[in-house]
Symmetry: C2
């Protein structure tokens, strides 16, 4: 008998009909002789609707109260899924994040899981019940207030629970069949990957893939949780995240795929003094405002220099305001903000063994007349910044250039989960 | 400095606009120098909408899961009211029933409050915060599952919290100006009562008045909580429930008013053997099914007798099924079910001192040509069962006969709270 953790996102639970279908899949897994723990997101657009309500009563809602509000969403879905399971004749018990022992930091709206104390989950499993757990939420131990985990939090709940319970597998049900060599909405012949290493999946998530959020993959890697990304709508086997890169046989799916990201903006600080400490001041101001920097480049001129970096668009705008306020001290001549950019990345553990990858990458874009603005690389990744108008084309050109296409067209289902 | 508990029902919180208005009233009370604890129902039709969702996924939802679902409703409203208070520049903290220490029995869907441990409420008050508490919900101590209190539960939460905190007053905000001598939707010149004793309010609630639910009044009487029923929409002073009857000066508002109830049905067991034990068997069968009986009458004939009783309509139908199944043993000739009945009641502590009340009551109905089916009386109440078609007229006739009308017309606001 295996212990299976299953996670269903908001679009899989958007209506009573979909909830019943999800319940059938859960009961089927239980009937196959498994212990089953299910982690649920809020139904459909519930979270967005609640945020809109909050905005109507308060322009800047206190994060503690926003968490109190939003956690109602998963509470509704776990109860409804439990009921739908009962309707099929099986026993189910729903637990909130707090009841399931999800202990987090106190950073309301963006808390991190510190620990899971799965006592109540275990007892319910021991009673033969299917256990439903509210994703995205937890409780801070200092004052027992409820918290939320931020974007992708339900995936993280599922993976962390799987680790705490020593589950055999954590199945993430989503609206695509698995992880693809590129976004099938952009590349018609994108291929599904049968497996991918944690490291590659981390790079994909960091480079804009929405399949799994970064934190959940980090959690999976740290605790060696076998994760399977599967479709809610089919019985296709999905993509397995399992072995860490070191354990993969060399050459296996040498390159994982192409990711893209449209959510960042570029900031250029023009004509800053080229003396020790000035660039550092810029980055200190940005860091103190808790703004994450992605790509960075510094172009040296004569006596003065330009610093360019990218950040999530809203953060980048904030950075511009902060830097402008310190203009006198930093002594730059101009600051430019540009959100009409996109990042395209090639990810693959096998990149280390193929020295020509960067050349091929840049040649393919050049042949297509696509201008490259910034370049950043890691051991298993190359990313470049291009004009946003060129982004889709860049994804297609690179997908072709590295031979990812397989002729068969990928099937895309509607909607995206949280 | 006083400690004020305020309760707002679902219709007072139905929209963002109404929530902002409620927040203004709360902040005003705080600014007057009071400590304020606010108990909220779910917004508008939220509870009904959630019940409908539940029905869509499960014909007979497990009560534990229904409670998990429904408690999302008050969670949403307390968070939104807290945000609206923040928007006005005051500090507020929302607490679920469980967080506020509302300990209940384990009867999901109809739990009773066993105890309130208001530690977290007190600490928030000590921090200078306005405290929002989710009404209608609590937690059972044996397994820490959440429970709901059943109809009128938010009133009960408010009164019980006021008792536990030793509050100076518990204000119940509703969509009418207070307690009236009759339902103003039926009797145009119904008069608002300035005060009413717990005992009279108990009888009103038991006889169909929807202003306050029975349990909350019982709680108020037991713990001597001063309760004020007021309008959410005006600054009118409302109706005070305070002194128990013994403490009221004799003659004060000698009669409280006329109540009516359309929710019951009449069951008649015809031709049962008139021997010791047969009537008892009928009532034992009904009681074992947890069906409450309201009015009872037994008409003796020769050797056989008819037993008639009333119960809430759905329960009465259930009683008929149960009794019919035991027909052979009970030996009756027929069972009749009639839900086209209504109960009208006169309530007043001063009734004890006015021996002609029953006569006046029956004469008034007889003069109006209204036939009386059953009569039941208590120390401070007379109730009769009439045809449901006659019910509204019976209320008006009795209201006139006992001189309740005052010439001034009552103002009725739309909607009813939970």
């Amino acid at each position: 008998m295996a212990l299976v953790v299953q996670k269903f996102g908001g679009s899989s639970l958007a209506t009573a009909e979909r909830i019943k279908r999800v319940a059938e899949r859960i009961v089927e897994t239980k009937k196959q002789g498994n212990d089953v723990v299910v982690v649920c997101s809020a139904m459909g657009d519930t979270t967005d609707d609640l945020i809109e309500l909050a905005q109507q009563v308060c322009a800047d809602p206190p994060p503690r109260e926003l968490d109190m509000l939003l956690t109602a969403g998963e509470r509704i879905s776990i109860a409804l899924v439990a009921m739908a399971i009962h309707a099929l004749g099986a026993d189910a018990r729903s637990l909130t994040g707090s009841q399931a022992g999800v202990i987090t930091t106190g950073a309301h709206g963006n808390a991190r899981i510190l620990e899971i104390k799965p006592g109540r989950v275990r007892r319910a499993l021991d009673d033969g019940e299917i256990v439903l757990v509210a994703g995205f939420q937890g409780v801070r131990p200092d004052n027992r207030d409820v918290t939320t985990l931020g974007r992708g939090g339900t995936d993280t709940t599922a993976v962390a629970l799987a680790a705490a319970l020593d589950a055999d597998i954590c199945e993430i049900y989503t609206d695509v069949d698995g992880v693809f060599t590129a976004d099938p909405r952009i590349v018609a012949d994108a291929q599904q990957l049968h497996s991918i290493s944690y490291e590659e999946m981390l790079e994909l998530a960091a480079c804009g893939s929405k399949i799994l959020m970064l934190r959940s993959v980090e959690y999976a890697r740290r605790y060696h949780v076998r994760v399977c990304v599967r479709s809610s709508y089919t019985d296709a086997p999905g993509t397995l995240l399992a072995a860490s890169m070191a354990e993969l046989p060399t050459g296996t799916e040498a390159l994982a795929g192409i990711a893209h990201d449209r959510s960042e903006a570029k900031v250029t600080v023009v004509g800053i003094l080229d003396r020790p400490g000035y660039a550092a001041k810029v980055f200190r101001i940005v860091a103190d405002a808790d703004i994450a920097i992605d790509m960075v480049v510094q172009n040296t001129g004569t006596g003065r220099t330009d610093i360019t970096f990218t950040s999530p668009a809203a953060d980048a705008a904030r950075a511009v305001t902060l830097l402008r306020a310190r203009g006198a001290e930093l002594g730059f001549t101009d600051i430019r903000y540009d959100n009409r950019v996109g990042k395209v990345s090639l990810i693959g553990a096998g990149m280390r063994d193929r020295p020509g990858v960067t050349a091929t990458f840049c040649e393919a874009l050049a042949d297509a007349g696509i201008n490259v603005d910034l370049i950043a690389t890691s051991r298993i990744r190359i990313s470049v910044l291009v004009r946003d108008d060129d982004l889709d084309r860049a994804v297609r050109v690179l997908h072709d250039a590295f031979g990812f296409g397989g002729g068969e067209l990928a099937v895309v289902h509607g909607g995206t989960g949280r």
